[in-house]
Symmetry: C2
Subunit: 322 residues, 2 copies
């Protein structure tokens, strides 16, 4: 039970107006009255309530973030960067992880709306959530299609895939395996596979394998892929993200294949933690700071009814180990 | 500008009472009136306001989390677990990263209090923040001493350090290096070093090196440690966390030392991501789910004025690679 202004007044034996004057430091008040009110506030754990501002039509200063998880280091870094930039604007972040759970995501959207966040930044991986279309709130999406009216900020997925394909071909790979996660095909991420395919298909033999990404994040059964690599003499692999790439490198080395000499593995994402711990992994670095900034700028343009930004596709960079 | 009930009423051309009836679905209302009010709500992006409940003395359903960062995989996993468990209780999480920035942490505490979170779970690494002592809010701390009245949930740091020391001695290490981060010495984490020292000091030569953890999280200069290892013929190292241990393994291998044959490196934390990507790292696994649950139970005991839990030191586990 949160204490009300009237509870403080009752306990202090003064009027509600007097409590309000103490809180807002105006009017003529004796030190004795001030002390009594402070003591009552302390006892009742009463805090002057910023939520009241929202009822008066003032800003709540909350932004809601919906991400599938925060444990993938790329999401971790993006969430951390968004939080940092929003704090500098005086905003607080309510974090909601949807874990590919549609019902949880619907509930979060309703809770966030009811608490009057000023807007939502989402990287939902759940397709067909009607609440996004019906929402009154300003929403911006990271790298995922949600509805025709919700703006998307993404990185240049086509170019990222293309750069990795060119790189593997340049190392002499002839039998390439492309691992695809089971993502919503309406989303910009699908262009990674398109770019990679176009860069490799005339220059090497390309095998595609669709992977259940939930399996991977739980440790996955890598043996299936190792078998494909051995059976098809695969010498280059495009893993759909860095986490998958590193797990696959471990599994290949355990099967006595040399990485990168026998089979080269490339990832995708380039989060700071993976760059720190695995600088030898060839990958695409997505600009996290720029993405966070663009998501925030796009959201606040919506909030303030300003025109949308014209180009929300950010450039990526190929990282090759020294 | 957030729309008010009266704005909706004005736009719909009805009374505030009518809007309230539409929102709460009571009284006799024509479909035409309902449609007009809904259209006005949509146009003004008006949402029935859960914050109003707080003014009426009802629960805000918010819990604030203050962590130094969410990018260390151990913190990431703990925050994710806390969020998951609180969601199941109908609570939302406001995340605040203090980045070892005392001023930012003070500001966050004030913002969280003003928005009437029901309580705070903190793993602040900033010593001497008076706002913690002065706060009216229920607070629980993870593994850090903040004040005599704020309960601490921690893992068995002494035992963790002791297990790692015993393990390194059992592998035959004679010249051991212990890397200590520059942490607040009042905190339970200091017991790791005590346990490690007691397990090793009579059985091997122990060198201690105090490291600037900010340096490490930014990539750090590992060369200084590699030099110590070579100069002192170090054959066993206790790195203060897994992130540090993996970076150090990379640096040692680059200097043509074999890990673990020439020098064994052990970490601390055992986050799921490091376990997934580096199952070969000997480390202490801290039980994340149990810690999250105990933090929440302890906080809600405070919120509900129930007696404190008696034992808030959770058991840890030694992980040795197969």
């Amino acid at each position: 039970m949160v204490a009300k202004l009237s509870d403080v007044a009752e306990l202090a034996g003064v009027s509600v107006t007097t409590v309000s004057r103490v809180i807002n430091s105006y009017g003529s008040l004796s030190q004795k009255t001030i002390d009594k009110v402070h003591a009552a506030m302390r006892e009742l754990r009463y805090q002057p309530n910023a939520m009241a501002r929202s009822l008066q039509g003032k800003s709540s200063q909350f932004i809601g973030l919906i991400f599938p998880n925060i444990e993938n280091p790329f999401f971790t870094a993006l969430v951390a960067e968004i939080e940092e930039l929003l704090f500098a604007k005086g905003y607080k972040v309510i974090i909601a992880t949807s874990s590919n759970d549609i019902e949880k995501e619907q509930q979060y959207l309703q809770m966030l709306a009811a608490n009057q966040v000023e807007g939502i930044i989402t990287s939902s991986h759940n397709p067909n959530i009607d609440s996004y279309k019906d929402s009154f709130l300003p929403i911006v999406s990271y790298d995922r299609y949600l509805s025709d009216t919700i703006p998307i900020v993404s990185e240049d997925n086509y170019r990222g895939g293309h750069l990795l394909g060119e790189y593997l071909v340049s190392t002499g790979a002839k039998n390439i395996l492309m691992l695809r996660d089971d993502d919503n095909s309406n989303s910009p991420t699908a262009k990674r596979y398109q770019g990679f395919t176009e860069a490799t298909s005339n220059k090497s033999h390309l095998t595609t394998f669709d992977f259940d990404s939930n399996l991977v994040s739980n440790g996955g059964d890598m043996q299936a892929i190792v078998d494909i690599v051995v059976d098809n003499k695969i010498d280059g692999i495009f893993a759909f993200n860095d986490m998958m790439a590193i797990q696959l490198q471990n599994a290949l080395r355990k099967a006595n294949l040399r990485v990168p000499e026998d089979v080269n593995v490339v990832g995708y994402d380039g989060s700071p933690i993976v760059q720190l711990l695995h600088p030898d992994l060839p990958t695409i670095i997505q600009p996290i700071h720029e993405a966070a900034q663009r998501l925030i700028d796009t959201l606040f343009n919506e909030i303030n009814n300003e025109p949308a930004l014209s180009n929300n596709v950010l450039p990526v960079k190929l990282h090759i180990p020294e």
